[in-house]
Every structure is written in C-alpha cells, then in structure tokens.
C-alpha cells in the first residue's frame, strides 16, 4: 500500500504532484466543465489522497488545492482576490470540507489500525492456546499411560503374565514418545536461543544418509528406502549431527505418513559447490492451501492424526538455515511429495585423496 511504501518526504511530493496534475487537466477542460465542478474534482482528489497518505501530506493537498482553485479558477484569475460573495462562500466551504475530509479519513484509519492490532493480538493468544493444548496433550497422554500401567502393576495382584507384559509394553511406548517430544522441544529451544553453532567438517553424505536409515530401522518401518547417488559424489563441509537429524526427521515423517511398502527415494547430487538432497515419496502429498505452512513451528496438517508435535519440519528448516541451507517442498505430478534441500558449501573429491 502507498501508505506504507512511500517514505515521509515522498508522500509530500506525491500529494503535490497529484494535485498539480489534476488541476492541470481541469484547467484544460475549464471551459467545458465550469469552475464549480473543478472544485468537486479537487475535493474528490483530496479525499482519495487521504485514504493513502499520512495526515500532513493530506492537509498539504487540501491547502494547495484550495489555493490553486482560487488562483486559477475563480474570477478574477491569477489573483487571490475573490469578487463574488457566492464564490467567497464557496471557497471557505471548499477549504473546510477538504480539511474535514482529510482529518476524518485519518481518524477512520487510526481506528482501523487499533482494531487490526487487537485482532492480531487475539489471533496470537488463540495460537498460543492451541499450542499449549496440543503440547499438554502430547505430554499428558504418555504420562497417563505410564501412571496407569505402573499403578496396575503395583496394585493388581491378579494380572496374568501376558497382561503384565502388555502393560510394560505400554510404558515403553509412552516413554519413547515422551523422549521424542522432549528431544524436539530441546532442539527447538536450542534453535530459538541461537546457541547452535554448526561444526563444519568434511563429511561423506552417503554415510550420513545410511546412518539415519540405520537409526530409523531400530524404530521400524515398512517402506523401502532407496538411496540414489553417484559413486563419485564429493565430500562436503557440513555439520554431521545436524545434517543427520535433518535427514532422519524427513525420512521419519515419510515413513509415518506414506502407505505401507511404498518407496521413499533419497536422491543425492551436487551442482558445483551445492549439495542437493531430494526426498521423494509416494504418499498423498500436501493440500495446496497448507503446503506453504508445513515448515512453521507447531503447524500440523488439518488432516493429521494425533501424536507428533508439529516441530519436526521446523527443526529441519532451522538446522538447514544454521548451515546456510534451504529446503523447498512440492507435490509431484505423479503423486507424493518431494522435498528438496540445497546447501552451498565447500567440496572436495574422493579421487584426489584416494589416489594419494
């Protein structure tokens, strides 16, 4: 909007130019439209300016247009003197209306602004509440499971061995979930406080990917993860731990939200000094109205089942930005989503060292 785009000084210049232009046009057609209509045209112009500019440039427009109208359009021309009593009245009225216009529009805008601020404040309170709701839910569910199970184990003497095993299994699952949530929150707060200083050192990107896949295997998944990379992909200077976490989070998501036994492809390549990692799945992709939001903190897809904190992807984004990397996501024509990571960094080649 002009109101925000134009700087202070430019706003004055803008209002002067517009008034002069409109006056010039009116002057050309003065004989046809008559000087009274010119007054209306100028009034409308001032009102329009009031909608976009600050109060002072608008007042300047009001004063300037009044002077111009008097000087060039009211007889006798080219003087500030007005002979006709009716014209004197008209001039005063013109001036008052122009001023009221400018001030009123300004006031309306101020009220709007306050209303807007209230609105955003309400929105952020609402966001905070949903966030708190989802977080406490994420913590309380596993905690309830643990308390319930241990209570039963301690007090119910009639439990069968299988029942006991099941309860212990419940505790294990709940603890695993809690641990994940805490890990996510810790990572997030490390990111927010800016204490993450990436330790950039030479890494074999394939080694990182396979390490992440190995860790994921301990958790279990049904999909097939394929890694596609050229034999001679160079070494890159990256933070091993952060990069591993990035790939782990993305693959973990893919295994959670794509069909069983489908394929997840990790494609590694470089263009000069930039490393590209593509993670391509055969799931449903993302709804078009939500795809831009998925990297936002605590954002969860409207359709997603419970569990998960909405932090995984925002951590991915944060860990990438800490290494000057970026991530984009798109839906594939064939179906499924494609995440593309790009990190510009230093590279070396296997061959030059291996032959030594």
């Amino acid at each position: 909007m002009l109101y925000t785009k134009l700087k202070h000084f430019n706003q004055y210049l803008f209002s002067v130019i517009i008034i002069i232009l409109v006056s010039l046009l009116s002057y050309i057609f003065k004989e046809i439209i008559g000087y009274k209509v010119v007054a209306f045209i100028l009034l409308v112009t001032v009102s329009l300016l009031a909608m976009f500019l600050r109060i002072l440039p608008t007042l300047l427009a009001a004063v300037l247009s009044a002077i111009i109208w008097n000087f060039f359009f009211i007889e006798p021309f080219l003087t500030f003197h007005i002979e006709n009593t009716e014209d004197v009245f008209m001039f005063i009225m013109y001036f008052v209306i122009a001023m009221i216009n400018a001030v009123l529009t300004f006031k309306i805008r101020q009220i709007e602004k306050i209303a807007n601020e209230k609105d955003t404040k309400l929105k952020s309170i609402k966001l905070y509440n949903t966030l708190l709701d989802s977080l406490s839910h994420e913590f309380k569910t596993p905690i309830s499971a643990i308390i319930g199970s241990t209570d039963a184990l301690q007090t119910n003497k009639t439990l069968s061995e299988t029942q006991k095993e099941k309860l212990i299994e419940e505790v294990a699952t709940a603890v695993f979930r809690l641990n994940n949530q805490v890990e996510n929150l810790l990572n997030m707060s490390r990111l927010e406080s800016g204490i993450i200083t990436p330790k950039m050192d030479w890494v074999d990107i394939k080694e990182i990917v396979f390490k992440a896949v190995r860790d994921l295997k301990n958790k279990g998944y049904s999909q097939v993860i394929k890694v596609d990379s050229s034999e001679n992909i160079p070494l890159f200077k990256l933070d091993f731990g952060l990069t591993e976490q990035i790939i782990y989070n993305l693959l973990n998501n893919a295994t959670l939200y794509t069909p069983e036994n489908s394929t997840i492809l990790v494609h590694l390549f470089n263009k000069e000094n930039s490393l590209f990692i593509e993670i391509i799945d055969e799931g449903k992709g993302f709804p078009n109205d939500e795809i831009t939001l998925i990297f936002d903190k605590f954002y969860r897809l409207k359709s997603s089942k419970s569990g998960g904190s909405g932090l995984g992807l925002s951590i991915v984004k944060g860990f990438l930005e800490a290494q000057n990397g970026k991530i984009t996501v798109s839906n594939r024509d064939e179906g499924g989503a494609k995440f593309t990571i790009e990190i510009e960094t230093e590279i070396t080649t296997f061959n030059s060292i291996g032959n030594e």
Binding site: W202, V203, E207, G241, T348, F350
Partner: protein, 227 residues
Amino acid sequence: MNKPKILVIDDEVQIRKLLEITLSTNDFDVKLVENGLEGIRFAATFQPDLIMLDLGLPDVDGQVVLQQLREWFFNPIMILSVKSEEEEIVKALDNGANDYLIKPFRTLELVARVRSHLRNHIKELSEPIIHSSNFYIDIVSRIVKINNEEIKLTQTEFNLLATLARNEGRVLTHHYLLKEVWGKSYSDQTQYLRVFVAQLRKKIEKDANHPEMILTESGIGYRFMLT
C-alpha cells in the same frame, strides 16, 4: 570365578538404582557412589574392572574426575551423560574414556557394551591377532582375511584397520585416528579419514552402505565391532 567389579559414579538416585539392579542381575559385583571425590577414593580401594562415570556430578566436573582417574587407572571407563553435545563427549574420549552412553540408554545395550569392554581389555594387552568367525587380522605380519580369504589393503588402509581393530568396542575420535594413522599434523584433515573409511568398508564389509564392523559415531568418530 570372581565376578567382574564395576564402580558406578552417578549423583542421580534413580540411575543408581537402575544400574544396581541391571548390573547385579547380570552377574557383576557393583559398587555405587554419588559424587566425584568418593568415586576417586573407591576406585583406589575397590579396584574395579570398569568404571561408569556420569559427567554431570555435583562436586567435581566429570571431566576432571576422568583426568584424575586416568593418571593411574587403566581399566575401561564408560561415560554416562545427559549432554548429547558432541564436544563434551569428544573431550571425554580424548581424556581417556573408552566409550560413552547417552541417557536415556537401553540396559541391554549397556550390558553388552560393558561385557565387550571387559573382554577386549584383556585382549588388548596381549594378542597381535584379532579374529572372529569371518574376520582375521594379524597386526604383526600385516595379514587381513575376510571369510578366510586374504584381502589386499594399501599401507594406510591397513594402519587404519589395525588401529580400529586393536581398540575393538572403543570409540575412537577423528582426531585420535588421524594422529595415529597419518601423524600429528593431519589431526584436522577429516577428509582423509572419510575417504579411507569408505574405501576400507568397500573391502571388508558385506555391504559398505550398511557397515557392521566399522561403525559411525555421528560427529565423534568410529568404533570397530567384531561380528
């Protein structure tokens, strides 16, 4: 036969309870203390075969306890830590720790590591030949066999493998490996390590992408395991 003796130094009562049950039911003689000074004293009198040391102690910094112990205690030391920060772990390993476990840890994993360290410690002192059913290395005559077939390694590849195998089960930091194999002035040249580990894996692992012998410790180093 005497039970192996393990000294646990940890200020968290829940962890001490857990370790007492886990270790004593696995046939270890366990002694538990809750601070660093007591830990150092009991290390001298109890003469443990292995020490488990928490890095965040109330009285003395765990790293300092570790340094003091390493002046005269040569049996394995395992670090327990809530800090998943790589730097602390690398520092502890460089200060002479053999291994680390990050809380929360799995007790099965813990017991397996303890056993492997106790076993290897005895071996480390004596044998030039390290082998399992499908792996064989003779460090003196520089022979490596996979499934009874001798394989050819370059000099650097052999030195790297020998360093790893001699320290089976132990986490070796990037710095340590680079210093041992390439020399002091190479201790920051991680690219050499990455390239040679990849080459070595291709020659000795069943699947170089899913290694079972030369394991990656993210951001820290490598660990050799006999399969």
